[in-house]
């Protein structure tokens, strides 16, 4: 070696330093880390992807139940059937007393004659011709107001059924109620799953980033010795966590899309049975975008936590021994 001359002759320009370049460099380092541990990266993405896809799938299911319920929802209420050959006045009286009830939105009177004519208009002509008198009773279709809950409707229906002129009461669309209940359960499950799996994703990110830091322990120790700030030491690992979460979100999107493709046919079959007008919500751009953003944020949270703890522990002490 021949240090006869000073190695830094003035080259006429100060080397340009840049904050943006430091960040870009960190991002590059995170990419390099992910690429140099492909198997780990793959499994972390898969793990996060599965964890995210479960609540996402549940959300879609409960959302679609909601769509179905909306689509098929008739106003809730009940039908009152009177005894045969009841005088029309009594029917009107009953209708009026029901109309006075505040939860009742509308009462539709169907006289025996109307019911008969309606039936006659259908295709059963021949069988009906055989009947010599109208076999049908008069009935009331009672529609409750939108806000009324089921308990109140059932109570009113019970009251109606206890009236002497009433033969039977049929409460509408029991299955609609069940659908609503299922949706409620699915919605709560979605929240529980989201919370649990969200925490799971954070832990996966913590473990993966912790591994990344450990695998570069020496380097961290040395750059800390060379004057890197804690923040700049953390940065590539924080980016790593975000990339893990991001990739996990992409994997989750793929999982959900694939699952939807598999169940699409039977689902559409089901939809067709109920009029076919139902458009199930599949994976749209917004939903996958949200999924990816949520994944990235959870990855970020895990990475922030673990990098702060690791560096505060001062494991990369400046002391060079």
């Amino acid at each position: 070696m021949k240090p006869q001359s000073f190695p830094w002759p003035d080259d006429g320009r100060e080397a340009r330093e840049s904050v943006a370049r430091v960040r870009l460099r960190s991002l590059k380092e995170s990419f390099e880390h992910l690429c140099s541990h492909p198997l780990i990266t793959f499994f972390v993405w898969l793990l996060i992807g599965i964890a995210l896809s479960l609540p996402a799938g549940f959300w879609l299911v409960q959302h679609n139940i909601g769509v179905v319920a909306q689509e098929l929802s008739t106003d809730s209420g009940f039908t009152v059937y009177f005894y045969k050959d009841l005088p029309q006045e009594e029917v009107e009286t009953a209708a009026n007393s029901l109309r006075r009830n505040p939860i009742v939105k509308d009462v539709d009177v169907i006289t025996a004659q109307e019911a008969w004519e309606f039936l006659m208009a259908s295709d059963f002509d021949e069988e009906l011709d055989a009947l010599d008198s109208n076999p049908l009773p008069a009935s009331l279709t009672v529609t409750a107001t939108q806000e009324t809950d089921r308990e109140q409707i059932l109570e009113l229906a019970k009251w109606a059924s206890e009236q002497p002129a009433v033969e039977s009461v049929e409460v509408d669309t029991e299955w609609m109620v069940q659908l609503h209940q299922i949706r409620q359960i699915a919605s709560r499950l979605t929240w529980i799953l989201s919370a649990l799996y969200g925490i799971g994703v954070v832990f996966v990110s913590v473990a993966a980033v912790r591994y990344a830091m450990d695998s570069r322990f020496e380097e961290l120790r040395v750059i800390s010795l060379l004057g890197a700030s804690n923040r700049s030491m953390r940065r590539p690992f924080v980016y790593c966590g975000v990339l893990y979460g991001f990739g996990g979100g992409v994997v989750a999107t793929c999982i959900v899309v694939l699952s939807l493709m598999i169940i699409e046919q039977p689902l559409q079959g089901l939809a067709n049975r109920y009029g076919g007008s139902i458009q199930f919500l599949a994976m749209d751009y917004l939903f996958s975008f949200i999924l990816i953003v949520v994944g990235s944020i959870l990855g970020l949270v895990g990475a922030l936590q673990v990098t702060v703890v690791q560096i505060r522990k001062n494991r990369y002490s400046n002391r060079s021994r």
Partner: protein, 230 residues
């Protein structure tokens, strides 16, 4: 004109071990400042305090009459970008190439790739390690690693250069060349502090400080008496 001054610096370690009682010294540029002393006397610790890597328990460190011990974190980080460190055991990252190791102080500051190439190339050339640029440090001898470590310490043109046994693994000829390089920095306003236990290295040195019993003493004026005693 640059300088580093210690004012009543004391250093305790956990467990009540008092390494430094009261250090007062002033290190100037224009010539290398040597710090000598037995093993375990605290040379490495002193250099780390000067470099801002270790806060002293008591007292103050002034750099160009600015109190460095009073710096907050961001000021300290800025200060440390002007410090070059050669550590006792060369502290290279073994799974990064020689080039990457030398580039580290520049990467920290976010220098452009072009500037980095320029600087790292010049730095490696000056320690005679250009050919090893793409090798991993594991392939190098300890003397070669030491040279890479020196290249890394000077690559960002430090205003303060602290070197802990920088010539420990060198033969005399190479050691003198390294000191020649440090002299060039000293002449250009860099304060150079070199810790060594090699008496031969400092026999003709202009400025020598001795650490002993938790104090520091300038030997420069006692130079002749020490030589006659030998």
């Amino acid at each position: 004109m640059s300088s580093v001054a210690l004012k009543s610096v004391g250093m305790d370690f956990p467990g009540g071990f008092e390494l430094f009682k009261n250090l007062n010294a002033r290190f100037d540029d224009k010539a290398i400042n040597f710090v000598v002393g037995r093993s375990g006397v605290g040379k490495t610790t002193l250099l780390q305090i000067i470099a801002g890597l270790l806060p002293p328990s008591r007292g103050k460190v002034f750099v160009n009459d600015i109190n460095v011990t009073g710096f907050n974190r961001s000021e300290m980080l800025r200060y440390r970008k002007y410090v070059g460190v050669v550590t006792q055991n060369s502290s290279l990252v073994l799974d990064r190439s020689v080039y990457e190791n030398v580039a580290m102080p520049l990467r920290i500051t976010g220098m452009s790739g072009q500037d980095i190439r320029h600087r790292v190339g010049a730095s490696l050339r000056v320690v005679g390690m250009s050919d090893a640029s793409n090798l991993l440090p594991t392939r190098l001898s300890s003397g070669e690693r030491q040279r890479v470590s020196i290249a890394r310490a000077i690559v960002h043109r430090p205003k303060l250069l602290v070197a802990d046994e920088p010539t420990g693994n060198f033969d005399r000829e190479l050691a003198l060349e390294v000191l020649g390089l440090f002299d060039l920095f000293a002449e250009r306003d860099t304060v150079v502090v070199v810790a060594t236990h090699d008496p031969n290295l400092v026999s003709h040195a202009e400025r020598v400080f001795e650490l002993e019993n938790g104090t520091i003493e300038s030997l420069s004026r006692k130079q002749s008496s020490m030589e006659s005693a030998e």
